[in-house]
Symmetry: C2
Subunit: 333 residues, 2 copies
DNA sequence: AAAAGTCATCGAAGCGCTTCGACGCTTCGT
DNA sequence: ACGAAGCGTCGAAGCGCTTCGATGACTTTT
């Protein structure tokens, strides 16, 4: 290695300067650093991975084109990449459709040191494989049986409850849920049912009636959903919307039913904060903290990698921000 | 290597079976394949990269959170990943914000064999660096001086022209452009001005008046944009919308001006096909062929990598699909 | 029948790093 | 004042592959 020659040290010394794994005198270290800078030296990633059995790469498995939560996915991804870079790791992108084989491939070939898997289903078929892998692995989402796997997610049950609490406090007695597309429930993506059960539990406690309706991510889907909801429970005065994609169309569709937000219909959205704020009506929302989740996922990965941290589950407490879309129902009884 | 032992051959033979770089007898090859399967053997990526000077990884540089074209970006990304996997390569994700340093790092450390860079600006500061890199590199987008760099993009000038042609054919004489957010123009992201100039040129040819207005990706932004457009050119009977994010709100905002789509206002959207079709009114659109672009980018990368193909520029011809949002102006003179 | 190819395979030399043990030197405790 | 302990550095042995030249066993050519 010519950096070593330029700095008049052995190549092992250069390595130790770079890794800090052994003490090096200040003068030597500086000499080496200068040589590195002068020669624009970058260690060869392959050689490094081979010798150290560490690639400094994290594999991130993203859903291909599931539902239309694309902006949320992208937020996750950038958060993960940014955080990973800060920890001196790179991110390899895998899509869902390589399935279990892709996970095995990446882990067994030592392409990546660890995995982060998004969009985990309640009984995800990848779970057993993931448990068998050498590489540590963090799930974003919460399967039914997370034993042995690290998970991080928003506490959707608490989020559902929080939404109901807020509305009940305002005086609402009948709430509708505009849910996710059917595909999401069929896929048994655990967050959707978790939200519903949290919502129902809280509603029971507070004596609030609840109607639940899935909702396709199109204009017509939303029309159908709202129509159904109001037919089923006409006294509905508030909506919880767990579908980012239909938010833009919501006020329009409600207007078709002579409902104004928030005067004759309150709305709590479950969506990222920035999305809540950029509509005709800014929506009171419970944040989907994509950035935090991504960042925490990387932290957990690094913890397992460096410190052999155990595989714990973290559910983030929901945060509700009051904006312009919720108020007291028109005729409080 | 124990696959070699199991198949009773030398490790070089295993390598040749895997790479096909030398003839191997059918029997031996089968023996080796079986051993590989039985032992679930996966070559170590680091060792392979080191020995062959090829990592089989493509670096993809995505814009961090530029504008709200997020779904389009995601389409690119999945297209690139899918296509790359088909060519036995993986994709490493870099964000814009690592800048030039990131490009150099990835290339010099041989982490990736090639780069694909999205969201290239007219006078992108990364250009000179990219030209200096060892690694071949493909831009998605079209800088002012693409010399020496491979580029692929939609022909936005032709797209602008095509939109005007379509509207002029229907009888429209005054067209407004709902443009991108100011940030995009400030960044000099070449596609936006290219669309405008193509649109203006065609308009001049066809004797159509054009008003151009940038548009922030919020409800209020759209309101302001449309108001401005109609104030400036009240005889406007058609809109070209080059901003996916405001499409959902468009019909609502136009209604505030007593304009219905397409009866009293025709609309051509520049957006991905799936986006055009899932609104209250399905929009006549010129497709942004994200999937094709991503796929072609990978093809070009592989061409440069395998065959030493030259760095050419490819501009894809725009395709307009007529849907429900365009028609003849109300009072053709 | 000898020379010249082919074909399928092997052995060994790296690829550019990290890491372990060793070594010489200084400092400390007693 | 002498052994123990610590510090800073070096040399060499890999890490697990690919690849090049070599080698036999055959086949074809002359």
């Amino acid at each position: 290695m010519d950096v070593a020659r330029a700095a008049e040290v052995s190549s092992s010394t250069v390595s130790y300067v770079l890794s800090g794994k052994r003490p090096i005198s200040k003068e030597t270290a500086e000499r080496v650093q200068r040589a590195i800078r002068d020669l624009q030296y970058r260690p060869n990633a392959g050689a490094r991975a081979l010798a150290s059995a560490r690639s400094n790469v994290i594999a991130l498995v993203v859903p291909l084109r599931a539902g239309q939560n694309v902006p949320v996915v992208m937020e996750f991804v950038t958060a993960v990449v940014t955080k990973a870079r800060a920890a001196d790791h790179d991110v390899l992108l895998l899509t869902q459709d390589e399935g279990v084989a892709g996970l095995r491939r990446v882990s067994a070939s030592a392409l990546a040191d660890a995995l982060i898997v998004m969009d985990v289903q309640a009984d995800d078929p990848r779970l057993t494989t993931l448990r068998q892998l050498e590489a540590p692995c963090v799930l974003i989402g919460l399967p039914d049986r997370p034993t042995g796997l690290a998970c991080v997610d928003l506490d959707f049950a608490a989020a559902g409850a929080l939404a109901v609490e807020h509305l009940a406090d305002l005086g609402h007695r009948a709430v509708g849920l505009v849910g996710q597309p059917a595909a999401v429930y069929e896929r048994k993506t655990s967050y959707a049912p978790r939200l519903i059960s949290g919502l129902r539990d809280a509603a029971t406690h507070r004596g609030v009636d609840v109607a639940v309706q899935q909702c396709e991510s199109t204009f017509e889907g939303l029309q159908a959903c709202v129509a159904q909801l109001l037919a089923e429970q006409p006294e509905t005065t508030a909506l919880v919307v767990h579908n980012e994609a239909v938010l833009p169309a919501l006020t329009t569709v409600l207007l078709e039913h002579r409902r104004r937000v928030p005067a004759s219909m309150s709305v709590v959205a479950i969506c990222p904060d920035d999305m809540a704020a950029t509509h005709a009506v800014s929506f009171t929302n419970i944040a989907i903290p994509a950035e935090d989740l991504g960042s925490i996922a990387v932290d957990m990965v690094m913890g397992q990698l460096e410190a052999g941290a155990p595989a714990e589950t973290r559910l983030l407490a929901p945060v509700l921000t009051v904006r312009a879309s919720t108020g007291a129902p028109r005729k409080p009884r």
